[in-house]
Symmetry: C2
Subunit: 232 residues, 2 copies
């Protein structure tokens, strides 16, 4: 009977999800290298060997968590972007910035797993790539649309783009169609600046120095918008 077959499969899918959830909770407490299959099994109330019915190894579990994490950031960024009128490109940028930071503050260990030091001994498979690009796609769309709308007015001339940058610019341009090389360069700077700021805040570099972090962050990202040529 096909309905009972899907019943078994549904249970399986649910348990798989539950294991990932438990693992994510442990990740949130102990960090990536503290994640262990045995601890997950313990919390699930099952034998450690049983987990292997669902994930063939610890690394596979980790890969799942990474993909889920990228998707979670991606979703947060997508809905933050969608909540702003499409023509308000500066507002969309700011919304995306706050979405990234808010998610990072809410899930620090998960953020560290995605954007921090790589887990020793673990090499991410290519499966993570599409999920990893989800937030970047949104960002690219904002820049691309702003450019097409003629809404980018950077305050000054950048140094001339070196010709050898062309190849990299072309690859990045797949995410922001129609945008010239100098805008690509500026966009990269703003994007890495966003994650650099969030990383500094999260990993302790701002301790005892920057205290009113929401204010500083918001202002910094508004400055970035200005530099990008977006009006806010």
């Amino acid at each position: 009977m096909s309905s009972s077959r899907t019943a078994r499969e549904r249970v399986r899918a649910e348990l798989t999800r539950e294991i990932a959830d438990v693992a994510r909770r442990q990740l949130a407490v102990d960090g990536a290298s503290g994640l262990s299959l045995r601890a997950v099994a313990r919390e699930m109330g099952m034998a450690s060997s049983a987990v292997y019915r669902y994930f063939p190894s610890r690394d596979d579990l980790l890969t799942t968590l990474i993909i889920d994490g990228y998707n979670a950031v991606g979703e947060a960024v997508e809905s933050a972007d969608a909540a702003v009128p499409p023509g308000d490109h500066g507002g969309r940028w700011i919304a995306v910035c706050h979405a990234v930071r808010d998610w990072a503050l809410a899930h620090p260990h998960e953020y560290a797993l995605l954007y921090g030091s790589p887990v020793p001994g673990y090499r991410a498979p290519q499966d993570t790539v599409p999920a990893a690009l989800r937030d970047t796609v949104v960002y690219g769309r904002i820049i691309s649309e702003a450019h097409r709308a003629g809404a980018l007015h950077p305050p000054g001339a950048d140094p001339p783009v070196p010709p050898s940058f062309a190849g990299d610019a072309a690859r990045v341009r797949e995410l922001m169609p129609g945008v010239p090389d100098d805008v690509v360069a500026r966009s990269l700077i703003a994007w890495t600046g966003l994650f650099g700021w969030v990383g500094f805040e999260l990993f302790g570099q701002f301790d005892n120095v920057i205290l009113d972090r929401a204010t500083a962050f918001d202002h910094a990202m508004r400055c970035q918008a200005r530099t990008l040529g977006l009006s806010i």
Copy 2:
């Protein structure tokens, strides 16, 4: 005899240093969470318990590595800065950027230890703070001197600095005396942008996208210089 006393003390100091060196080498291979006192002892050819004569715990060893790491970056940044004429503030900024990136590429795991996700279960003591600020001090001096020399000409007006930023700006200003709040804000952006870029490059976010990394980095930091108002 005081000379023999210092002889013993010299041996002790040397062994302490050697243990740290071995640990640093292992850190470079396995990353921070792969560092173990037992493995260090093994490579030193001594009993694992003997290491406790030199470092009271694994965390103390880690603290030493962190402090040494910050000092190494600091030194690299200091000498890069010193190699450029003091009046060439833009050149000094670029030199500092490359010093940070070069050091990071040469010591990726150590960089991750300093600027990446914190090691789970380890809390850095306050002893690391002065070393951690060494590179920042150099940066602050460049900005401060450029400002005093009237060499900062940012290309456009930033959004107005929110009044609640004043406290944080004052704290940062201890590292860059005499600099107004808006310059402080821009400086923070460029600084976090530098580390954000290096982090992206080191932790794999640029894989398959940015390939000619030296070119892209150099150009990006030159753009940052322009945004800061430095001439290059």
